[in-house]
Structure formats: structure tokens, C-alpha cells
Symmetry: C2
Subunit: 190 residues, 2 copies
DNA sequence: TCCATTTCCTAGCGATGCTAGATATGAGAG
DNA sequence: CTCTCATATCTAGCATCGCTAGGAAATGGA
């Protein structure tokens, strides 16, 4: 039975290689550069191998997105923990969020704009996505007032997401980002 | 010279037909359904004719987006004018914004997410885009405090844009939209 | 050593955006 | 009225995309 175990291990490694390669390629040159042919070439297998691991290109992007949710949750948690006071926590978490999106634009796109049908069947996504959301919720909790915390958090999140996406599409000047972020933080921490 | 005038007029009409057809097709079936072959078939010309009017498919989408900016500006202005008081104006304009995006998702996408290089060379875009932005600015002016109105407006705009895009990608439940909108309005009208 | 099963690749399909080269159209000169 | 030439338009095709069927190759067991 050791050979079967080895095969399964190698297969898992190859699957991880596909995700990592797709991720690196997307970060370096954008998702348009991530073609199935090129991806297959990078991992030194033929195209159909990709489809024995994933249903299609969207599924590969979704797998990259899943990793992104975990990363984002960690980044937000770190920012929240190390903040001196609740108000500073909002500012730090907001900055961590937009920094994540700025530094990994392709991954952020896969997480929130490109992939419509996320694998909600999978266990990982709701978990890590919920973890990130929970970090946001805990951060703004002191300022939610008597209203619904979830709604309050979702609205704050929308503000961050809007800043990120409008800036990337060139509708907002990058130079004023910090000031806009300060306004958003101010509005949601009073 | 009348024949030449007629030709130019017919050519302008055909260009408008291309834009209108692309717009209708995108609204009805999404931008993926707007292929150059199908678009050419709808206007009863061959594909290359499209390229004698526009540089490519992106340019056609940009033309649709330009019309969208004008529409949005009108909708926002109407909402702002008919509001009873400044605070209600913020609520009404915000609702008008998200309604526009909800009812014309394809056009909204062309305006703010799909097209990266908008024809800023053209005169129309900055004008109509600026008109819409100016409507937002006038709406929130009473609540901007002593800070920069432009930055304040941009941040408010980001909130609206984030609500719209996160809801469309399925990250936010549609049922709670009104409550999120109320939170956003509350944060930016106090 | 031979067979059966699994794994993988070659080759190809349909569709996309876009374009070069051939063809039709029509205005103006003789 | 006819011919010419420029303009307008189409037919056909290219390169590329995501994806897949069918056959070849490798692998494990008898």
C-alpha cells in the first residue's frame, strides 16, 4: 500500500504546485497571463492534467482565492491585536486590509471580484472568509452602537472594498488614499 | 456635398446603433454575450465594420459606459433636487446610486470595473463623470465638516461602490441591502 | 512475461477578438 | 452614358482561448 500512498502524496503535491504557480503567475503578470497552456507548461505537465485536479480555470482561481482568505484573516488579526486602543485598531485593520489588496491585487480580485461562484461547498472558504469578517466585526464592535453589528461591519467592509477597487480601476487618485482611509476610519470609529 | 453629408449622417447613425445594440445586449444577457460576431449580426453588417468605428471591443464598452455616466448624473441630480432636507438628500442620492447599479448592472460594470482605460481624451467622460461626482459632493457638503470635501465625497462614493459590487458578487446578502445603506447614510450625514 | 488498469499526452473542437486581401459600390470625369 | 478610381464592405483566415476525446505509455499484479 505504500505505492498508493506515495501516489496520493505526489498528486497532492502537484495540486499544490498548480495553485502556487497560478498564484505567482497572477501576481506577476495578472490573471490574463494565466492560461491553461502556460500553467501546464510551468508545472511541466500537459493541459489535461489540470482538469484532473480542477473542474476548470475558475476552480483554480478559486483555490488561489481560498488561500487568500486565510492570509487576509491572519493579516487583519495581527493588525487588530497589536493596536494600542480600539480606535487605533480600526485604523490599523483598515490599513492592513487595503495594504493586502494593494500588494496582492490579483489575489484580491480572485477573492472578491472575478470569481462569482466560490466553492461554498468546501469547508475552507466559509471558515477563512468568516474569520476575516469576524476580525472586522470585533474591530468595529465598540463603535457599532445599538444597531446590528453584522450590518455595521458589512457596511464598513464595503467602504474598504470600494476604496480598493475604485483606486485600482483608476477612478481614485492613489496619492490621496491615506486621507480617504482616514475619513472612512473616522466615520466608523465614533 | 449633400451625398457626403448623408454618408456622414448614416455613419453616425450606424455608430449609435452599435452602441445601443451593445448596451441592450449587455443589459439583457451580460457582456459575455456581446461578441463582435453577434454584435455585427444584430446591426446587419460584418465584423470589420465595427473596427472602422471603434478600436476594439473595449472601445465599444467604453462608449456604452460614457452614456452611463450621463444617465447616472441625471439620476443623482434628480434625487438630490427632490429631497426635503439635506439628510434626506443623502439617503435619496445613495438609494438612487445603488438603484442605478442594480437595474443596469452591465452598464455599471462597464463604467467602474471592466473598462480600465477610459477614454479620458474624449471630452464627454470627464464631463459626465465629473457631473455625477459633483452631485455626490453637493449632497454630502453639509456634512463634510472642516475637512476636504473632495476626499469626503470620494470616501462616501467608495462606500456606495463597495455595497454595490460586494452585493453583486454574492458576498453580501441582498435582503439586508437597505439596512446597510441606512448605516452608510447615517455615517456620512451627521 | 503477460495482462489490466491507471495515468498521461497528442490532437483537435468550438469560440473568441481582430485583420489582411479581395470584392462590390458609387461618385465624378470624359 | 460609360468608364475609372476611390471608398466602403465582405469573405476568409490567424492566433489564442478554455476544454475534451481518444489513444499511447507507464505501472502494478498474476
Amino acid at each position: 500500500m505504500s505505492t498508493q500512498a506515495r501516489r496520493e502524496r505526489e498528486r497532492a503535491e502537484r495540486e499544490q504546485a498548480i495553485i502556487a504557480t497560478a498564484r505567482d503567475l497572477a501576481l506577476a503578470e495578472g490573471w490574463d497571463a494565466v492560461t491553461t497552456r502556460r500553467l501546464a507548461g510551468e508545472i511541466e505537465y500537459s493541459q489535461p492534467v489540470l482538469y484532473s485536479h480542477f473542474k476548470g480555470k475558475d476552480a483554480i482561481m478559486a483555490a488561489v482565492a481560498v488561500e487568500g482568505f486565510a492570509e487576509l484573516a491572519v493579516a487583519l488579526a495581527s493588525a487588530r491585536m497589536s493596536a494600542a486602543d480600539p480606535r487605533q485598531a480600526v485604523a490599523d485593520v483598515a490599513a492592513a486590509y487595503t495594504d493586502f489588496a494593494e500588494q496582492r491585487p490579483a489575489i484580491y480580485d480572485a477573492m472578491f471580484t472575478l470569481i462569482v461562484d466560490l466553492p461554498f461547498a468546501s469547508q475552507d472558504v466559509p471558515t477563512d472568509l468568516a474569520r476575516g469578517f469576524a476580525e472586522l466585526a470585533e474591530t468595529v464592535r465598540p463603535f457599532a452602537g445599538d444597531g446590528d453589528l453584522e450590518t455595521f461591519t458589512e457596511t464598513f467592509w464595503s467602504g474598504l472594498h470600494g476604496l480598493v477597487t475604485l483606486m485600482r480601476s483608476g477612478r481614485l487618485r492613489r496619492t490621496d488614499h491615506d486621507r480617504r482611509l482616514a475619513v472612512l476610519v473616522d466615520r466608523f470609529s465614533r
